[in-house]
Amino acid sequence: MELLNQVTQFVISGLATGSIYALIGLSFAIIFNSTGIINFAQGEFVMLGGVLTIFSLNVLHLPLIAAILAAVAVTTVIGIVFERLAIRPLKNATPLMLIIITIGASILIRGLVMLLWGKDTQALPAFSGTDPISVAGATLLPQHLWIFGVTVLVIIGCRLFFNHTISGKAMRACSFNRRAANLVGISVGRMVLFSFVISAAVGALAGVIIAPLTMTAYDVGVMLGLKGFCAAIMGGMGSGLGTVLGGLILGTLESLGAGLISSGYKDAIAFFILLLILFIRPQGLFKKGETERV
């Protein structure tokens, strides 16, 4: 019984971090689908969400909701600047160049945050207290509920946007075939910019809602970004349910592994899963294989 309670506890916290990975995975997939770029700076958007909220809250003394909105807005602007300055000037860039540039952007953002706010780990207060709620012998924090709620809302929002609005459909058209999309009058450049806007906002939001649970600092983006990428890979780089499932599975496995095997190897578990999937099913867990295009 003791073990069962423990496992329930690990699964709950695993699902919560898994939701975060799912959101980050979605933000990876949104940019990838409209540009073919894996944005190595994605984790920095997540970090910025948390760090900027704490800054707005503690230094600017904004109320929580305004602080969150400000943080997401500023991160989005940074996403736009990044796209304008580092992605757009490159015509016919090879994947290699894009990898190097986005890595450059990620360490640049990380360095600037360290310069402005130092290296200290900071905590964001939980949105609605820390009184635990007892569920099936395990405890659930109010923040967990916030995470689940926001994740569900973002996923529904993304779904509505991509399936039922002109802009969303145009972005999907770009991901299927950029040239054809261009021919029917879609401004591909604007859609690329849009994808950075949405992706930065979703990433930042993920960073905000996880910050009360895990603390935040200038360097949390690397790990969160990589795990989000892992979730996206598991879902086959789609912006749909596959990525969400991937995130939840990853979060749960990681939490169980950390709890039952060793917490020191927690991050190694995620990367081991990442490698395994890249080696065995690079097209994702839920997709059929595609043949290589020449």
Binding site: G111, F229, I233
Partner: protein, 321 residues
């Protein structure tokens, strides 16, 4: 071919003479690390600049070399030279084994997979405390020695490291001008076309990956004997990115470019002491601006700049006459 040989001889001569006027001071110490970083950059450049395959886990192989030698010589009292060979062989086998699944991946996926390998290895350095000393590091590693000659001063270590480095530079120069090197460049341009032409792309990619890993591991062994202390922080993702920055600045696909990049990026933080941890801001800016404006690196950029200046002068002379 002959001019290549002369170029290398001049380079080697400069390398061997440089420390003499410095008389073993602080700069000599910095130049030891230029030598180590040059080979690390060169290893990655063979893989990335020539074969077009990225690796964000180079620091892991460097670290495996350092920890392998460190642990074998301190805890198990093995002869440092034997340890170095054993570690190089083991790291080579490890790279060869993971090379097949890893290098089947392309582009972003390859970058992520190599990064993953690097992070896992780094976590292992931190967590296997009994073997590696964990985050607090491993100390008391002996200096290398040949007979009664112990490499215990900066000047001696300079020559030790640079003899190895020159050897590997020469090897790389020969390699890139061989059939193997042409095969690598063919893979870079189009892997499918290369395979159609009879290049065994899959095997060659793994071979060059293994070579770069072994080069890094040997430098890791030297590093641990020069430093006599190592800790996991020196072998993390940050250092892998630093190696990448070196070759992007120096020049992708250029042997001497790797050395130039290593020289600049090792001297830069030393000269800008006030930067300390903030050097990553400079690296970030360099990676972005160099890739956008000077994708060939300084090795290509400087001659291009000179060429632009020289004909301009000729035109002016012509109009005067």
């Amino acid at each position: 071919m002959k001019s290549d040989r002369i170029k290398f001889l001049v380079f080697a001569l400069v390398v061997l003479l440089v420390p003499l006027p410095l008389s073993g001071g602080y700069l000599t110490n910095v130049l030891i690390f230029v030598g180590i970083n040059s080979v690390l950059a060169l290893g990655l450049n063979l893989l990335l600049g020539y074969a077009g395959q990225i690796s964000l886990g180079q620091a892991a192989f460097f670290g495996l070399g350092a920890y392998g030698s460190g642990v074998l010589t301190t805890t198990y009292g093995l002869n440092p030279w034997l340890a170095m060979i054993a570690v190089a062989v083991c790291v080579g086998l490890f790279a060869f084994a993971i090379g097949f699944p890893v290098l089947r991946l392309k582009g972003h996926y390859l970058a992520m997979a190599t990064l993953g390998v690097g992070v896992i290895v780094n976590i292992a350095f931190n967590e296997t405390v009994e073997l590696t000393g964990g985050p607090s590091g491993l100390s008391g590693i002996p200096n290398l020695s040949i007979g009664s000659l112990t490499f215990d001063s900066d000047l001696k270590n300079y020559y030790l490291v640079w003899v190895f480095a020159l050897g590997m530079i020469l090897l790389s120069l020969n390699l890139v001008n061989s059939r193997f090197g042409r095969g690598l460049r063919a893979i870079h341009d189009s892997e499918i076309a290369a395979r159609v032409m009879g290049v065994n792309a899959r095997l060659m990619k793994v071979q060059v990956f293994t070579l770069s890993a072994v080069m890094s591991a040997i430098m890791g062994s030297l590093y641990c004997h020069v430093m006599t202390f190592i800790s996991p922080n020196s072998f993390g993702f940050h250092f892998s990115v630093e190696i990448l920055t070196m070759i992007v600045i120096g020049g992708l696909g250029s042997v001497y470019g790797s050395v130039l990049g290593a020289l600049l990026l090792t001297l830069l933080p030393e000269m800008l002491r006030t930067f300390q941890d903030y050097d990553i801001i400079v690296y970030g800016l360099l990676l972005i601006t160099m890739t956008i404006y000077l994708p060939g690196g300084l090795v290509e950029g400087i001659p291009a700049l000179l060429r632009r200046l020289v004909p301009a002068r000729k035109v002016r002379e012509g109009s005067d006459a």
